[in-house]
């Protein structure tokens, strides 16, 4: 028999190193073991991309500042060879990059760190009284009609705004339809308010969602509240009032978010990530980046970090699958297919995910049963199934959109190739072993996927796997140990029960 000692030493070493790394993260960096009630800190990264033409380049981006709910702790930029300047002028902050000459694809990163603080202090610059906007003739009449109608039913700046949004949202209102024909909703609101000399502006806002990448800026409307002397936020589409706690205002001027001279096809996108670092720690965090012992992935750009937030969850899914197969003895179709389905569930939300999965696989099986009669070669048949799956997904997406089920749109997140193989395998299973086996294995896969999904979306699991990389080593050790388990599976206790009772 082979000596197992080195194996157990190796496993023990993994546990010890994993534990030590985690303890180090906890004690030195102050990362709490449990996720906080609210997110302590957000790291938001703007990624500016453009094609330089070879001439001098000057790029200017509106930069965020402390605001209601958030305190700006620090900011940094990363750009090769560019000179950087941060400017502030009457509350308008901007970051500017310049270079004598650049050519080809350019990437500039700007990173800002915010502390979540409901009592954040920030300066409010009172606005100037705006000059009334004048529409062209026909629309001016419509605007005045709409405005006077709204004015009648309001008592102040804020109620007037509310009423304007309500009228713009009314599909039967012809004045609104005429206005929205030529200009954006948010522009219409601000212009209409200016006709009553009410200060209002369009701000660039960002919805903070942990681990999101490639997010875009959304316009919101701020209206000056003359009574309380502060700005009040309105969602121009829903009319919702007040600033949600997960909304960050990036800039007070939506239209001058990004300006690039000397470059073409400029684009800006945002990535964000939440961290649970205690506020005391936040201030002395700068050491972290230079620390070699800091094994964490937290020194990477936010976009990569956000990606790792999902990647680091996969070992947890794998551990669950190992457990369900070795200890429980659950039958699934395809060993790690449930993990991939669970990753899709994270994007689609559970219920829509399950319905989408059942719809796709169910319809796919029907199409596949027709294909099996055509006597095709295997590779061609699977390719046909893949195309069928894509068609099913597009049909369901269109139907969902038409009947107003926006959740249905997320069905596109399913991994199509994997689903096609699942359909193929289940269809063969159906032909050979009957429908019962298909339901057992399909049900097993779905159950595993749901359990993996629940683990992956658990706030605690997300917090631990991302913040304590040492934990991954411990998961590895656990999986290695499970690989040595020679006891009975739960399913065998049932299978061999007639034998035990004899």
């Amino acid at each position: 028999m082979i000596n197992r000692l080195p194996f157990y030493l190796f496993v023990a070493a993994l546990v010890v190193i994993g534990l030590a790394l985690s303890l180090y993260r906890h004690s030195v960096y102050g990362v709490p073991w449990l996720p906080g009630e609210s997110r302590a800190q957000w790291e938001v990264e703007a990624r500016i991309a453009f094609d330089a033409t070879g001439d001098p380049v000057k790029a200017s981006m509106a930069a965020p500042n402390s605001q209601q709910g958030f305190i700006l702790i620090n900011e940094s930029t990363s750009s090769q060879g560019y000179g950087v300047a941060l400017q502030e002028n009457e509350g308008k902050r901007s970051a500017q990059w310049a270079i004598r000459s650049a050519e080809g694809k350019q990437l500039i990163y700007y990173k800002a760190r915010f502390l979540v603080d409901p009592d954040a202090e920030y300066t409010i610059y009172p606005p100037r009284i705006p000059t009334p906007h004048v529409f062209e003739e026909l629309r001016q009449t419509a605007a005045q009609a709409l405005l006077s109608e709204a004015f009648k039913q309001s008592a102040g700046n804020l109620t007037l705004t509310r009423e304007i949004i309500r009228q713009l949202n009314d599909p039967k209102n012809q004045n609104a339809a005429l206005l929205l024909n030529s200009i954006n909703r948010e522009d219409a609101i601000v212009s209409l308010l200016s006709m009553r000399k009410i200060p209002a502006r369009i701000v660039a806002s960002l919805k903070l969602e942990d681990g999101r990448r490639r997010q875009v800026i959304r316009p919101m409307v701020q209206v000056w509240d003359a009574n309380k002397l502060r700005w009040q936020l309105f969602n121009p589409i829903s009319g919702a009032e007040g600033k949600p706690s997960n909304l960050l205002i990036w800039s007070h001027d939506y239209h001058s978010l990004l300006d690039v001279v000397g470059g073409r096809q400029s684009a800006i996108s945002f990535s964000m990530i939440a961290q649970d670092i205690s506020p005391q720690q936040a201030t002395r965090e700068k050491i972290e980046a230079e620390d070699l012992l800091n094994f964490s992935i937290h020194s990477l750009p936010v976009e990569e970090q956000a990606m790792f937030k999902t990647i680091m969850l996969i070992p947890v899914g794998a551990l669950l699958v190992v457990f369900l197969r070795i200890i429980v003895g659950l039958k699934t179709s395809g060993t790690f297919m449930p993990v991939l389905i669970a990753v899709a569930f994270v994007q689609t939300q559970l219920l829509t995910g399950i319905i989408g999965f059942l719809l796709i696989v169910g319809t796919g099986l029907m199409i596949r049963s027709y294909l099996s009669r055509l006597n095709l070669l295997l590779v061609a048949r699977i390719s046909a199934v893949i195309i069928a799956v894509i068609l099913i997904i597009s049909v369901f997406t269109v139907i969902a959109y038409r009947i107003g089920l926006l959740e249905g749109l997320s069905i596109t997140f399913f991994p199509m190739i994997i689903l096609s193989w699942t359909i193929e395998r289940m269809s063969i299973l159906w032909e050979e072993e009957g429908a019962k086996e298909v339901f057992i294995q399909g049900g097993g896969s779905l159950l595993t996927a749901i359990l993996v999904y629940l683990a992956m979306t658990s706030e605690l699991v997300r917090h631990l796997t991302f913040n304590f990389v040492g934990l991954q080593l411990m998961i590895l050790a656990l999986i290695l140990m499970l690989g040595n388990y020679t006891g009975y599976r739960l399913s065998e206790l049932r299978r061999f029960k007639p034998l035990a009772d004899r």
Partner: protein, 336 residues
């Protein structure tokens, strides 16, 4: 004391629905039942050299090594290796009555097509179901494409003569050849069962598909117990034949043939699938490097004590060089 008692009573009550469907692991252990994890880890992983798997995973190779070792095997009618040769099947089988088409690398009995007789391009399965030429060709096409094979690899279709099974087995099997599975551990045949197909297993001999498993006494080849769907039965569900009257003829010869699989393959833990032909006696149908655990249910006893007995024998250094010696030892050691 009183509190402790009520707690344990409560636990018992809570566990009721559980204990109705599940048994305690300790009980299984006492009975020496081999579990899937232990089989994979301690027997297949330890005694089966992966490099030798192709010998048993490819039925064509198994056939050749068995023939070389002097074992009888079902006659080979032909092999179809590529798509262009598929239509030749009709010509190939024209002189044979019944035949079997199987994927060389199939697993779990997948893709085995049994044709009992054919006439003018019409083919008949054991169940009486009729297939036309296209159906048979499609089956071969699927086989070649790897539909039934491990990992979906491209495969070849093996066409074999249909075994005419021994008259002793009439009514023990419904629409299909009954085969005898022998677990051979390091050359010692330690447990055996006959697998009889039923209407619900569609002529297939896999227990999880509804076939009947009849446990066989290693010493005598007589039936000890029969199960279907994990539950004991006394009569074949379709033919109503009493299963306890089953006796395998040529039993010792069959065990010898099974035991020789160790020399043929070098694999320590295998399931040898045997058939008894009316005229040619025991034949090796195929070998399986990952034999299932249902044989324990069929025999009503666990594999572990027997496996450990052989392991202990090996540890003592007692080596039986020939298959005859090993079978003789088993006839004594595992008599029930």
């Amino acid at each position: 004391m009183g509190i402790g008692h009520s707690i344990s009573a409560r636990v018992k009550w809570l566990m009721m629905p559980f204990s109705r469907h599940f048994c305690r692991p300790k009980k299984l252990h006492q009975r020496g039942i081999l579990g899937m994890n232990k089989r994979n880890h301690s027997y297949i992983g330890r005694y089966n050299d992966r490099s030798k798997y192709p010998l048993v995973d490819d039925k064509l190779k198994t056939k050749f090594i068995a023939q070389r070792a002097g074992a009888t095997v079902p006659e080979l009618i032909g092999v179809i290796r590529s798509q262009v040769h598929v239509p030749e099947i009709h010509q190939m089988v024209s002189d044979w009555g019944g035949f079997v088409i199987k994927p060389a690398q199939g697993s779990g009995g997948k893709g085995i097509l049994v044709i009992t007789h054919h006439k003018d391009g019409r083919y008949f399965k054991a169940s009486g179901a009729e297939l036309n030429q296209q159906d048979v060709e499609r089956h071969i096409t699927n086989t070649l494409a790897g539909l039934f094979s491990l990992g979906g690899k491209n495969d070849v279709a093996v066409v074999e003569n249909l075994i005419e099974f021994n008259d002793n087995f009439v009514d023990f099997s419904y629409e299909g050849v009954p085969d005898i599975r022998v677990i051979v551990f390091q050359g010692y045949p330690i447990m055996a069962m006959m697998r009889c197909s039923t209407a619900s297993s569609d002529g297939k001999a896999n227990l999880h598909q509804g076939a009947v498993g009849v446990g066989l006494d290693i010493a005598t080849g007589k039936a000890v117990r029969a199960v279907q769907h994990n539950q004991p039965i006394s009569h074949h569900p379709d033919t109503r034949r009493a299963l306890n009257t089953l006796v395998i003829p040529d039993w010792q010869q069959l065990l010898l043939l099974a035991a020789s699989a160790w020399e043929m393959t070098g694999l320590g833990y295998i399931g040898a699938d045997m058939v008894l032909d009316k005229t040619k006696g025991p034949m090796v149908l195929e070998l399986n490097a990952r034999p299932g655990l249902a044989i324990q249910t069929a025999n009503g006893c666990g594999l572990l004590p027997r496996l450990q007995k052989v392991e202990a024998l090996k540890a003592q250094g007692a080596a039986h060089a020939t298959a005859e010696e090993r079978v003789a030892w088993c006839l004594q050691a595992f008599a029930t």
